[in-house]
Protein backbone atom coordinates (compact mmCIF):
# COMPACT_ATOMS: atom_id res chain seq x y z
CA UNK A 1 0.00 0.00 0.00
CA UNK A 2 1.12 3.46 -0.88
CA UNK A 3 0.31 4.95 2.45
CA UNK A 4 3.40 3.63 4.22
CA UNK A 5 5.14 6.95 3.96
CA UNK A 6 4.94 7.84 7.62
CA UNK A 7 8.33 9.51 7.42
CA UNK A 8 7.03 12.08 4.98
CA UNK A 9 3.95 12.73 7.11
CA UNK A 10 5.93 13.08 10.32
CA UNK A 11 8.44 15.35 8.61
CA UNK A 12 5.72 17.62 7.30
CA UNK A 13 4.01 17.71 10.70
CA UNK A 14 7.29 18.66 12.31
CA UNK A 15 7.87 21.38 9.74
CA UNK A 16 4.42 22.76 10.54
CA UNK A 17 5.01 22.61 14.28
CA UNK A 18 8.29 24.47 13.88
CA UNK A 19 6.90 27.02 11.47
CA UNK A 20 3.82 27.99 13.47
CA UNK A 21 5.36 29.82 16.43
CA UNK A 22 8.04 31.58 14.41
CA UNK A 23 7.26 35.29 14.17
CA UNK A 24 7.36 35.89 10.46
CA UNK A 25 4.75 37.28 8.14
CA UNK A 26 1.53 35.31 8.12
CA UNK A 27 2.16 34.50 4.47
CA UNK A 28 4.98 32.12 5.34
CA UNK A 29 2.79 30.33 7.91
CA UNK A 30 0.13 29.82 5.27
CA UNK A 31 2.81 28.57 2.84
CA UNK A 32 4.03 26.00 5.35
CA UNK A 33 0.50 24.73 5.84
CA UNK A 34 0.05 24.46 2.08
CA UNK A 35 3.26 22.39 1.93
CA UNK A 36 2.01 20.18 4.75
CA UNK A 37 -1.26 19.59 2.93
CA UNK A 38 0.60 18.78 -0.29
CA UNK A 39 2.78 16.28 1.58
CA UNK A 40 -0.35 14.59 2.95
CA UNK A 41 -1.53 13.78 -0.56
CA UNK A 42 1.42 11.41 -0.93
CA UNK A 43 -0.26 8.50 0.75
CA UNK A 44 -3.72 8.11 2.16
CA UNK A 45 -4.51 5.67 4.98
CA UNK A 46 -8.16 5.85 3.83
CA UNK A 47 -7.17 2.89 1.65
CA UNK A 48 -7.23 0.76 4.78
CA UNK A 49 -10.87 1.67 5.43
CA UNK A 50 -11.74 1.10 1.77
CA UNK A 51 -10.20 -2.38 1.85
CA UNK A 52 -11.85 -3.26 5.15
CA UNK A 53 -15.20 -1.97 3.85
CA UNK A 54 -14.93 -3.98 0.63
CA UNK A 55 -14.21 -7.08 2.67
CA UNK A 56 -17.08 -6.48 5.13
CA UNK A 57 -19.46 -5.73 2.25
CA UNK A 58 -18.96 -9.30 0.94
CA UNK A 59 -19.08 -11.02 4.32
CA UNK A 60 -22.18 -12.89 5.41
CA UNK A 61 -23.38 -11.00 8.47
CA UNK A 62 -26.39 -10.28 10.66
CA UNK A 63 -29.28 -12.49 11.84
CA UNK A 64 -29.99 -13.62 8.26
CA UNK A 65 -26.31 -14.32 7.57
CA UNK A 66 -26.17 -12.63 4.17
CA UNK A 67 -23.79 -10.10 2.66
CA UNK A 68 -24.60 -6.59 1.46
CA UNK A 69 -23.69 -7.50 -2.12
CA UNK A 70 -27.34 -7.34 -3.21
CA UNK A 71 -27.88 -3.92 -1.60
CA UNK A 72 -29.56 -1.52 -4.07
CA UNK A 73 -27.77 1.82 -3.71
CA UNK A 74 -29.93 3.36 -6.42
CA UNK A 75 -28.48 1.86 -9.59
CA UNK A 76 -29.96 -1.59 -9.03
CA UNK A 77 -29.18 -4.47 -6.68
CA UNK A 78 -25.48 -5.20 -6.55
CA UNK A 79 -24.28 -2.05 -8.36
CA UNK A 80 -21.79 -0.07 -6.28
CA UNK A 81 -19.83 1.61 -9.06
CA UNK A 82 -20.97 5.22 -9.47
CA UNK A 83 -23.83 4.93 -6.96
CA UNK A 84 -22.54 7.52 -4.52
CA UNK A 85 -22.35 10.24 -7.20
CA UNK A 86 -26.17 10.11 -7.46
CA UNK A 87 -26.92 10.20 -3.74
CA UNK A 88 -28.98 11.28 -1.87
CA UNK A 89 -31.97 10.16 -3.90
CA UNK A 90 -35.58 9.03 -3.58
CA UNK A 91 -36.01 5.27 -3.10
CA UNK A 92 -39.45 3.95 -4.01
CA UNK A 93 -39.13 0.85 -1.78
CA UNK A 94 -38.65 3.04 1.29
CA UNK A 95 -40.76 5.91 -0.10
CA UNK A 96 -38.26 8.46 1.13
CA UNK A 97 -35.05 10.26 0.26
CA UNK A 98 -31.94 8.56 1.59
CA UNK A 99 -28.27 9.39 1.75
CA UNK A 100 -25.63 6.65 1.59
CA UNK A 101 -25.52 5.92 5.30
CA UNK A 102 -29.32 5.76 5.58
CA UNK A 103 -29.43 3.40 2.60
CA UNK A 104 -26.77 1.14 4.10
CA UNK A 105 -28.81 1.01 7.32
CA UNK A 106 -31.85 0.11 5.18
CA UNK A 107 -29.94 -2.76 3.55
CA UNK A 108 -28.62 -3.99 6.91
CA UNK A 109 -32.23 -4.12 8.14
CA UNK A 110 -33.96 -5.55 5.06
CA UNK A 111 -31.22 -7.88 3.78
CA UNK A 112 -29.28 -8.85 6.87
CA UNK A 113 -32.11 -8.70 9.40
CA UNK A 114 -30.59 -6.25 11.86
CA UNK A 115 -32.89 -4.17 14.04
CA UNK A 116 -32.73 -0.55 12.89
CA UNK A 117 -31.29 0.66 16.21
CA UNK A 118 -28.57 -1.99 15.95
CA UNK A 119 -27.69 -0.95 12.38
CA UNK A 120 -27.39 2.69 13.45
CA UNK A 121 -25.21 1.99 16.46
CA UNK A 122 -21.71 3.45 16.67
CA UNK A 123 -21.49 5.15 13.26
CA UNK A 124 -18.33 7.04 14.21
CA UNK A 125 -15.23 5.14 15.29
CA UNK A 126 -12.86 6.10 18.07
CA UNK A 127 -9.43 5.02 19.34
CA UNK A 128 -10.76 1.85 20.98
CA UNK A 129 -13.50 0.87 18.53
CA UNK A 130 -13.57 0.81 14.74
CA UNK A 131 -16.83 1.69 13.01
CA UNK A 132 -18.11 -0.71 10.34
CA UNK A 133 -20.22 2.12 8.90
CA UNK A 134 -17.13 4.23 8.20
CA UNK A 135 -15.57 1.25 6.42
CA UNK A 136 -18.70 0.61 4.31
CA UNK A 137 -18.85 4.28 3.38
CA UNK A 138 -15.14 4.37 2.48
CA UNK A 139 -15.60 1.39 0.17
CA UNK A 140 -18.80 2.58 -1.54
CA UNK A 141 -17.59 6.15 -2.04
CA UNK A 142 -14.24 4.95 -3.43
CA UNK A 143 -16.23 3.25 -6.19
CA UNK A 144 -17.41 6.70 -7.37
CA UNK A 145 -13.98 8.29 -7.54
CA UNK A 146 -13.63 10.27 -10.75
CA UNK A 147 -17.35 10.10 -11.53
CA UNK A 148 -19.29 13.36 -11.94
CA UNK A 149 -21.74 14.30 -9.21
CA UNK A 150 -25.21 13.92 -10.66
CA UNK A 151 -27.83 14.34 -7.93
CA UNK A 152 -31.41 14.58 -9.14
CA UNK A 153 -34.30 16.76 -8.02
CA UNK A 154 -36.82 15.04 -10.30
CA UNK A 155 -38.97 13.53 -7.57
CA UNK A 156 -41.10 15.87 -5.44
CA UNK A 157 -39.59 14.35 -2.27
CA UNK A 158 -36.12 15.12 -3.61
CA UNK A 159 -37.20 18.72 -4.18
CA UNK A 160 -38.65 18.87 -0.69
CA UNK A 161 -35.45 17.48 0.85
CA UNK A 162 -33.43 20.10 -1.03
CA UNK A 163 -35.61 22.95 0.21
CA UNK A 164 -35.59 21.65 3.78
CA UNK A 165 -31.81 21.34 3.60
CA UNK A 166 -31.56 24.90 2.36
CA UNK A 167 -33.68 26.07 5.31
CA UNK A 168 -31.39 24.12 7.68
CA UNK A 169 -28.33 25.75 6.14
CA UNK A 170 -29.62 29.21 7.03
CA UNK A 171 -31.15 28.28 10.40
CA UNK A 172 -29.62 30.41 13.16
CA UNK A 173 -29.94 29.19 16.71
CA UNK A 174 -28.19 28.16 19.90
CA UNK A 175 -26.16 30.20 22.35
CA UNK A 176 -24.00 31.74 19.61
CA UNK A 177 -26.67 32.47 16.95
CA UNK A 178 -24.72 30.36 14.47
CA UNK A 179 -26.02 28.84 11.23
CA UNK A 180 -24.06 26.83 8.66
CA UNK A 181 -24.19 30.06 6.64
CA UNK A 182 -22.32 32.01 9.35
CA UNK A 183 -19.06 30.39 8.23
CA UNK A 184 -19.95 29.00 4.80
CA UNK A 185 -21.74 31.68 2.77
CA UNK A 186 -18.89 34.00 1.78
CA UNK A 187 -15.81 33.58 -0.37
CA UNK A 188 -12.25 33.67 0.94
CA UNK A 189 -12.96 33.55 4.68
CA UNK A 190 -11.00 31.72 7.36
CA UNK A 191 -11.43 30.51 10.92
CA UNK A 192 -8.00 31.05 12.45
CA UNK A 193 -5.86 29.80 9.52
CA UNK A 194 -8.39 27.28 8.27
CA UNK A 195 -9.93 28.19 4.90
CA UNK A 196 -13.72 27.99 4.82
CA UNK A 197 -15.53 26.82 1.68
CA UNK A 198 -18.45 28.97 0.49
CA UNK A 199 -21.07 26.25 0.18
CA UNK A 200 -23.67 28.49 -1.48
CA UNK A 201 -21.51 28.63 -4.62
CA UNK A 202 -21.13 25.82 -7.10
CA UNK A 203 -17.33 25.90 -6.93
CA UNK A 204 -17.18 26.00 -3.13
CA UNK A 205 -19.78 23.26 -2.71
CA UNK A 206 -18.05 21.11 -5.32
CA UNK A 207 -14.62 21.44 -3.72
CA UNK A 208 -15.94 20.64 -0.25
CA UNK A 209 -18.51 17.95 -1.00
CA UNK A 210 -16.39 15.92 -3.40
CA UNK A 211 -13.58 15.59 -0.81
CA UNK A 212 -15.65 13.83 1.88
CA UNK A 213 -15.31 11.25 3.31
CA UNK A 214 -11.73 11.90 4.35
CA UNK A 215 -9.02 10.45 6.49
CA UNK A 216 -8.45 13.01 9.24
CA UNK A 217 -4.77 13.02 10.19
CA UNK A 218 -5.53 14.83 13.46
CA UNK A 219 -7.95 12.08 14.49
CA UNK A 220 -6.42 9.01 12.84
CA UNK A 221 -9.87 8.10 11.55
CA UNK A 222 -11.75 8.07 8.29
CA UNK A 223 -14.66 10.47 8.66
CA UNK A 224 -17.89 10.38 6.70
CA UNK A 225 -20.12 13.23 5.56
CA UNK A 226 -22.55 12.36 8.36
CA UNK A 227 -19.66 12.88 10.77
CA UNK A 228 -18.74 16.19 9.12
CA UNK A 229 -22.28 17.53 9.65
CA UNK A 230 -22.43 16.16 13.20
CA UNK A 231 -19.21 17.92 14.16
CA UNK A 232 -20.22 21.20 12.51
CA UNK A 233 -23.34 21.32 14.69
CA UNK A 234 -21.28 20.51 17.79
CA UNK A 235 -19.15 23.57 17.04
CA UNK A 236 -22.30 25.57 16.31
CA UNK A 237 -23.25 24.83 19.95
CA UNK A 238 -26.36 22.97 18.81
CA UNK A 239 -27.57 19.74 20.46
CA UNK A 240 -26.31 16.57 18.76
CA UNK A 241 -27.38 15.92 15.19
CA UNK A 242 -28.87 12.42 15.16
CA UNK A 243 -27.14 9.99 12.78
CA UNK A 244 -29.15 9.44 9.57
CA UNK A 245 -31.84 11.88 10.75
CA UNK A 246 -34.08 13.70 8.26
CA UNK A 247 -32.23 16.98 8.84
CA UNK A 248 -28.89 15.31 8.09
CA UNK A 249 -30.26 13.84 4.86
CA UNK A 250 -31.88 17.13 3.80
CA UNK A 251 -28.70 19.09 4.42
CA UNK A 252 -26.67 16.49 2.52
CA UNK A 253 -29.14 16.79 -0.37
CA UNK A 254 -28.73 20.59 -0.44
CA UNK A 255 -24.94 20.37 -0.49
CA UNK A 256 -24.65 17.37 -2.83
CA UNK A 257 -26.96 18.95 -5.39
CA UNK A 258 -24.95 22.19 -5.23
CA UNK A 259 -21.84 20.10 -6.01
CA UNK A 260 -23.33 18.62 -9.22
CA UNK A 261 -21.06 18.56 -12.23
CA UNK A 262 -17.78 18.08 -10.36
CA UNK A 263 -15.87 14.81 -10.38
CA UNK A 264 -16.10 13.02 -7.04
CA UNK A 265 -12.64 12.79 -5.47
CA UNK A 266 -12.78 10.93 -2.18
CA UNK A 267 -12.00 9.31 0.22
CA UNK A 268 -9.58 12.20 0.56
CA UNK A 269 -7.08 13.12 3.24
CA UNK A 270 -7.33 16.21 5.42
CA UNK A 271 -5.33 17.70 8.28
Amino acid sequence: MRFIRRGALAGAALALALAAPVVLGQGSTVDEIAKYRAALQDGNPAELWEARGADLWRQKRGPKNVSLEQCDLGLGAGVVKGAYAKLPKYFADADRVMDLETRIVWCMVTLQGYAEAEAKKGPFGGPDRKSDMEAYVAYVTSESRGIKMDVSLRHSKEQEAFRLGEKMFYFRGGTHDFACATCHAEDGKRIRLQDLPNLTHTLGAQKAYTTWPAYRVSQGELRTFQWRLNDCFRQQRFPELIFASDASIALTMFLAYNANGAAFDAPAIKR
Binding site: L153, T175, A181, I191, R192, F238, P239
Partner: protein, 210 residues
Protein backbone atom coordinates in the same frame (compact mmCIF):
# COMPACT_ATOMS: atom_id res chain seq x y z
CA UNK B 1 -25.86 38.79 -5.51
CA UNK B 2 -24.44 35.43 -6.52
CA UNK B 3 -26.43 33.59 -3.88
CA UNK B 4 -29.65 34.84 -5.40
CA UNK B 5 -28.49 33.64 -8.78
CA UNK B 6 -28.07 30.16 -7.44
CA UNK B 7 -31.46 30.22 -5.72
CA UNK B 8 -33.12 31.52 -8.87
CA UNK B 9 -31.52 28.84 -11.03
CA UNK B 10 -32.55 26.18 -8.55
CA UNK B 11 -36.12 27.45 -8.41
CA UNK B 12 -36.25 27.11 -12.19
CA UNK B 13 -34.65 23.66 -12.05
CA UNK B 14 -37.19 22.58 -9.47
CA UNK B 15 -40.24 24.07 -11.14
CA UNK B 16 -39.94 22.24 -14.46
CA UNK B 17 -39.70 18.64 -13.25
CA UNK B 18 -42.44 19.33 -10.69
CA UNK B 19 -44.85 19.91 -13.56
CA UNK B 20 -43.62 16.84 -15.43
CA UNK B 21 -44.45 14.45 -12.63
CA UNK B 22 -47.81 16.04 -12.10
CA UNK B 23 -47.14 17.69 -8.79
CA UNK B 24 -49.95 20.25 -8.37
CA UNK B 25 -47.96 23.12 -6.91
CA UNK B 26 -44.63 23.30 -5.15
CA UNK B 27 -45.07 23.73 -1.40
CA UNK B 28 -45.06 27.36 -0.27
CA UNK B 29 -42.21 28.81 1.72
CA UNK B 30 -44.40 28.81 4.84
CA UNK B 31 -45.18 25.10 4.38
CA UNK B 32 -41.48 24.29 3.97
CA UNK B 33 -40.69 26.36 7.07
CA UNK B 34 -43.29 24.48 9.13
CA UNK B 35 -41.91 21.14 7.94
CA UNK B 36 -38.37 22.30 8.66
CA UNK B 37 -39.28 23.12 12.27
CA UNK B 38 -40.78 19.66 12.81
CA UNK B 39 -37.81 18.01 11.09
CA UNK B 40 -35.38 19.92 13.27
CA UNK B 41 -37.03 18.81 16.50
CA UNK B 42 -36.90 15.17 15.42
CA UNK B 43 -33.31 15.34 14.17
CA UNK B 44 -31.41 16.50 17.25
CA UNK B 45 -30.97 15.00 20.68
CA UNK B 46 -29.82 16.76 23.80
CA UNK B 47 -26.29 15.99 24.86
CA UNK B 48 -24.34 17.34 27.82
CA UNK B 49 -25.08 21.00 28.31
CA UNK B 50 -26.62 21.39 24.83
CA UNK B 51 -30.36 20.92 25.39
CA UNK B 52 -33.09 21.05 22.76
CA UNK B 53 -34.15 24.55 23.85
CA UNK B 54 -31.17 25.79 21.84
CA UNK B 55 -33.24 25.11 18.72
CA UNK B 56 -35.98 27.53 19.81
CA UNK B 57 -35.31 30.73 17.89
CA UNK B 58 -35.77 34.21 19.32
CA UNK B 59 -36.99 37.08 17.09
CA UNK B 60 -33.52 38.01 15.89
CA UNK B 61 -32.58 34.43 15.01
CA UNK B 62 -35.87 33.89 13.19
CA UNK B 63 -35.72 37.09 11.12
CA UNK B 64 -32.02 36.79 10.36
CA UNK B 65 -32.35 33.14 9.25
CA UNK B 66 -34.95 34.25 6.76
CA UNK B 67 -32.84 37.09 5.38
CA UNK B 68 -29.36 35.54 5.21
CA UNK B 69 -27.96 36.39 1.78
CA UNK B 70 -30.85 38.76 1.06
CA UNK B 71 -31.31 42.44 1.79
CA UNK B 72 -32.75 42.92 5.28
CA UNK B 73 -35.59 45.49 5.16
CA UNK B 74 -34.72 48.67 7.06
CA UNK B 75 -37.66 48.47 9.46
CA UNK B 76 -36.81 44.86 10.38
CA UNK B 77 -33.19 45.86 11.02
CA UNK B 78 -34.22 48.80 13.17
CA UNK B 79 -36.60 46.62 15.18
CA UNK B 80 -33.84 44.10 15.93
CA UNK B 81 -31.29 46.78 16.82
CA UNK B 82 -33.70 48.65 19.11
CA UNK B 83 -34.79 45.52 21.01
CA UNK B 84 -31.23 44.26 21.43
CA UNK B 85 -29.88 47.66 22.48
CA UNK B 86 -32.60 47.97 25.13
CA UNK B 87 -31.61 44.54 26.49
CA UNK B 88 -27.97 45.43 27.20
CA UNK B 89 -27.15 45.40 30.92
CA UNK B 90 -24.47 47.97 31.56
CA UNK B 91 -22.10 47.39 34.52
CA UNK B 92 -23.62 48.68 37.78
CA UNK B 93 -20.27 50.12 38.87
CA UNK B 94 -20.00 52.14 35.67
CA UNK B 95 -16.56 50.69 34.86
CA UNK B 96 -16.23 49.29 31.35
CA UNK B 97 -12.55 48.30 31.26
CA UNK B 98 -11.09 45.27 33.04
CA UNK B 99 -7.70 43.63 32.62
CA UNK B 100 -6.50 43.34 29.02
CA UNK B 101 -4.23 40.38 29.92
CA UNK B 102 -7.27 38.36 30.97
CA UNK B 103 -9.01 39.71 27.87
CA UNK B 104 -6.27 38.23 25.70
CA UNK B 105 -6.75 34.81 27.32
CA UNK B 106 -10.51 35.01 26.75
CA UNK B 107 -9.92 36.06 23.12
CA UNK B 108 -7.72 32.96 22.64
CA UNK B 109 -10.03 30.48 24.38
CA UNK B 110 -12.21 28.47 21.99
CA UNK B 111 -13.92 26.24 24.50
CA UNK B 112 -17.32 26.81 26.04
CA UNK B 113 -20.98 25.83 25.52
CA UNK B 114 -20.31 22.89 23.16
CA UNK B 115 -21.75 19.57 24.31
CA UNK B 116 -18.21 18.26 24.28
CA UNK B 117 -17.06 20.97 26.73
CA UNK B 118 -16.92 20.56 30.49
CA UNK B 119 -19.83 22.73 31.77
CA UNK B 120 -17.65 23.77 34.72
CA UNK B 121 -14.62 24.42 32.50
CA UNK B 122 -13.45 27.61 30.80
CA UNK B 123 -15.72 29.57 28.47
CA UNK B 124 -13.98 31.86 26.03
CA UNK B 125 -14.94 34.28 23.29
CA UNK B 126 -12.55 32.84 20.66
CA UNK B 127 -12.22 36.32 19.13
CA UNK B 128 -9.17 35.22 17.11
CA UNK B 129 -11.30 32.67 15.26
CA UNK B 130 -12.74 35.59 13.28
CA UNK B 131 -10.68 38.74 14.04
CA UNK B 132 -7.10 39.93 13.96
CA UNK B 133 -6.28 41.52 17.34
CA UNK B 134 -2.77 41.55 18.83
CA UNK B 135 -0.23 41.53 15.96
CA UNK B 136 1.82 38.78 17.68
CA UNK B 137 -0.97 36.28 17.01
CA UNK B 138 -0.68 35.18 13.39
CA UNK B 139 -3.39 32.55 13.58
CA UNK B 140 -6.48 34.70 13.19
CA UNK B 141 -9.60 34.35 11.09
CA UNK B 142 -11.20 36.77 8.66
CA UNK B 143 -14.97 36.39 9.11
CA UNK B 144 -14.93 39.66 11.08
CA UNK B 145 -12.85 42.80 10.42
CA UNK B 146 -9.34 43.30 11.82
CA UNK B 147 -9.48 44.89 15.26
CA UNK B 148 -5.77 45.71 15.38
CA UNK B 149 -5.34 49.23 16.82
CA UNK B 150 -9.06 49.35 17.67
CA UNK B 151 -8.75 51.92 20.46
CA UNK B 152 -5.80 53.81 19.04
CA UNK B 153 -7.60 54.42 15.74
CA UNK B 154 -10.96 55.41 17.28
CA UNK B 155 -9.80 57.35 20.33
CA UNK B 156 -9.60 56.39 24.01
CA UNK B 157 -12.84 58.05 25.10
CA UNK B 158 -16.07 57.12 26.89
CA UNK B 159 -18.12 56.91 23.72
CA UNK B 160 -15.82 54.35 22.07
CA UNK B 161 -15.41 52.40 25.32
CA UNK B 162 -19.18 52.18 25.63
CA UNK B 163 -19.54 51.09 22.01
CA UNK B 164 -16.88 48.37 22.45
CA UNK B 165 -18.51 47.01 25.60
CA UNK B 166 -21.99 47.12 24.06
CA UNK B 167 -20.82 45.50 20.83
CA UNK B 168 -19.27 42.56 22.70
CA UNK B 169 -22.35 42.30 24.93
CA UNK B 170 -24.82 42.34 22.04
CA UNK B 171 -23.52 42.96 18.52
CA UNK B 172 -27.02 42.91 17.01
CA UNK B 173 -27.79 46.14 18.89
CA UNK B 174 -25.50 47.92 16.42
CA UNK B 175 -25.66 45.76 13.31
CA UNK B 176 -28.75 43.59 12.89
CA UNK B 177 -28.04 40.05 11.71
CA UNK B 178 -24.30 40.34 12.17
CA UNK B 179 -22.44 37.00 12.28
CA UNK B 180 -21.05 37.89 15.71
CA UNK B 181 -22.43 36.11 18.78
CA UNK B 182 -24.15 38.15 21.53
CA UNK B 183 -21.71 37.31 24.32
CA UNK B 184 -23.51 39.11 27.16
CA UNK B 185 -27.08 38.79 25.97
CA UNK B 186 -26.85 35.00 25.63
CA UNK B 187 -24.86 34.53 28.84
CA UNK B 188 -21.74 33.24 27.11
CA UNK B 189 -19.36 35.61 28.95
CA UNK B 190 -19.69 37.14 32.43
CA UNK B 191 -19.72 40.89 32.97
CA UNK B 192 -16.12 40.75 34.19
CA UNK B 193 -15.04 38.80 31.09
CA UNK B 194 -16.68 41.38 28.83
CA UNK B 195 -14.86 44.15 30.69
CA UNK B 196 -11.58 42.27 30.20
CA UNK B 197 -12.14 41.86 26.46
CA UNK B 198 -13.18 45.53 26.23
CA UNK B 199 -9.83 46.36 27.86
CA UNK B 200 -8.03 44.26 25.26
CA UNK B 201 -9.54 46.58 22.63
CA UNK B 202 -9.44 49.87 24.54
CA UNK B 203 -6.51 49.87 26.99
CA UNK B 204 -3.63 51.94 25.56
CA UNK B 205 -1.22 49.33 27.04
CA UNK B 206 -2.93 46.43 25.25
CA UNK B 207 -0.88 44.84 22.44
CA UNK B 208 -3.90 45.48 20.20
CA UNK B 209 -3.07 49.20 20.36
CA UNK B 210 0.70 48.91 19.93
Amino acid sequence: MQLRHLTGALAAAIAVPAILIGCATAPSDAEVAAKATAMLKASFSERGQAKLDRLAQDDMQKTCSEYTGKVLPRDAAEKIEKANLAAIKWPADGKLLGDWKNGEKIAQEGRGMQYSDDPTGPVGANCYACHQLAPQELSFGTIGPSLYQFGKARGYNDEVRKYAYGKIYNADAYNACTNMPRFGHKGILTEQQIKDVTALLMDPDSPVNK
